[in-house]
Symmetry: C2
Subunit: 323 residues, 2 copies
């Protein structure tokens, strides 16, 4: 591998001059500049990543990760786990990460006490203060799982596509025809809900003309029973449930069990797949989202502007054979 030293030697200059050319800092004679750039190309020079890492380490970068306790929703267990694993890896490069998973934390009222070079957060109203503070201080802000105004980068999945994939799976289990009932917890239509449903219906309309999903049942504490249609549907699409045990209720409602397609796969979901109650699930890789949020922050804080923008995690399909 070519080094800066080698290029300097060949060009008959010092490493300082090479460095100035590489970083476009001027103060270099045009002909020397040309010669150096020629050598860079010829030797296919790439800066040594370890050496650069050592330089970055002396910046002593610190970041804050705002999320929620897994009790709020199983999604956060995996998200936080992924972020913490990545934080441990980044620690080996001299980067530190603080985690806030609690609305009670006093940092929320006193953002100035945060001594960090950037923040990642799940967009929740409680964190708006932190976000605004970060934007005012020109610090990078990464939104995780849902988009947010004013953020530097977004890490999450394409919920519409997730809905489309769920539709494809539903068609598989239903033989490409019949009525699908959409089931969801609570009543509020959050982004992850309506984008998935939107994609789901769009895919049915585009590719499965013999299927439809007109009815939506919301439940709280399994009271979904009341709303279920008399006629056995071809499948259920269970959108972002916090509590998967609703599946048992759905399972027992008709003579023949109705196949269930759902999203994500926390522990409870895995068990139900194992039992054959959930036919398939579409996952958004929450652990990867946690990890990616932090690596994006590092990239942004070290001036890699290409880290700004959207980062989509892959959507994976799981059935009982690849839980």
């Amino acid at each position: 591998m070519a080094t800066i030293k080698e290029i300097a030697a060949r060009a008959g200059v010092s490493i300082g001059t090479v460095d100035r050319v590489l970083h476009d800092r001027g103060h270099v004679a045009p002909e020397k500049r040309e010669e150096i750039l020629r050598l860079v190309k010829e030797l296919n020079y790439r800066p040594n990543a370890s050496a650069q890492g050592l330089i970055i380490a002396r910046k002593k970068l610190r970041f804050a990760f705002f999320s929620l306790d897994p009790e709020a929703h199983p999604f956060f267990r995996e998200l936080n786990a992924g972020a913490k694993k990545e934080a441990e890896r980044l620690r080996q490069y001299g980067v530190e990460v603080e985690f806030y998973e609690d609305f009670e934390d006093r940092v929320l009222e006193d953002p100035d006490s945060l001594k960090v070079d950037g923040v990642a957060m799940v967009p929740l109203p409680q964190f708006d203060g932190i976000r605004d503070w970060a934007i005012r201080n020109a610090l990078p802000v990464v939104a995780v799982s849902t988009r947010m105004d004013g953020c530097t980068a977004f890490v999450g999945c394409d919920y519409r596509q997730a809905g489309r994939i769920a539709a494809g799976l539903t068609a598989m289990v239903a033989g490409g025809k019949g009525d699908v009932v959409i089931v969801s917890e609570g009543t509020e239509e959050i982004t992850s809900f309506y984008e998935r449903v939107d994609g789901f219906r769009a895919e049915l309309a585009d590719r499965y003309p013999r299927m439809k999903a007109d009815q939506t049942c919301f439940f709280i504490d399994h009271t979904v029973k009341l709303d279920l249609p008399k006629k056995r549907p071809a499948a259920f699409y269970l959108v972002n449930p916090g509590d998967y045990s609703i599946c048992r209720t759905l399972q027992e409602h008709y003579q023949n069990p109705v196949p269930i397609i759902t999203n994500d796969r926390p522990e409870e979901c895995r068990r139900l797949m194992e039992e054959g109650i959930i036919a398939a699930t579409v996952c958004q890789q929450p652990e990867q989202q946690g990890s990616l949020a932090l690596t994006s922050l590092v990239d942004l804080a070290t001036g890699r502007r290409e880290a700004a923008g959207d980062h989509y995690t892959e959507l994976s399909i799981h059935i009982r054979q690849n839980i």
Copy 2:
């Protein structure tokens, strides 16, 4: 982050002494040793990865990757691409990788001309000479995609599990009952073939008593037609095809198209999924295999013995909505 220097300062010794303790090289007074270990724990010391990378870079590691031209099988296109991408990344850490994709290469007859610190290879008889040479010279050998005697590590998927997943998908499209016909190219029963079929049948036997897959049809140039049963099967399981266009032949053979489940997803397979001819495929992440083979080699060559053994890539499911 704590550094060796900080630990040395706190323990009242020099960094040389701390280093000797960390690497268990002896020649340290017991009480100093204890104190240093205590501090390491207390400060949760982790060596800086960039600094270590800089040390590794001066070893000027070189590896050789033996594979085949994509013409031999589409699998190699993705495998090689993944390996080359990783090689480019490793180059930033001062590691160089040579690629051999040709049986004609004269290195195969003269392994001693290889100046490398380890090799990765797809286990093919043509590479046996290289493998034996590497073993004689105590160099790490990584087998990719198929296991091999004498290798230090294996990178690939669990073909039996792949077969089981394919069975699960087949059951989904077939409604959990009916006869499945297994279709495969050529006549030779290579590992990837029989392990997948083995897993496929085992899964049907374990979980889908109303299904079976007794018949296997081998084809060369679409002559499979001759062997297909009169009665329309519930599904086809197309095992490791080099040429996916056989799907069109299968597709047209019966009045109603029979759903096809297959493995892997090179370009040709993606197109057929797009058209709705292939219902689903189980993929072994060939790109990740290429990448992982090289990172494992680096780990082995730098003394991380835990890199020895088996590395399984994830098995992913793809349908037309997540091609």
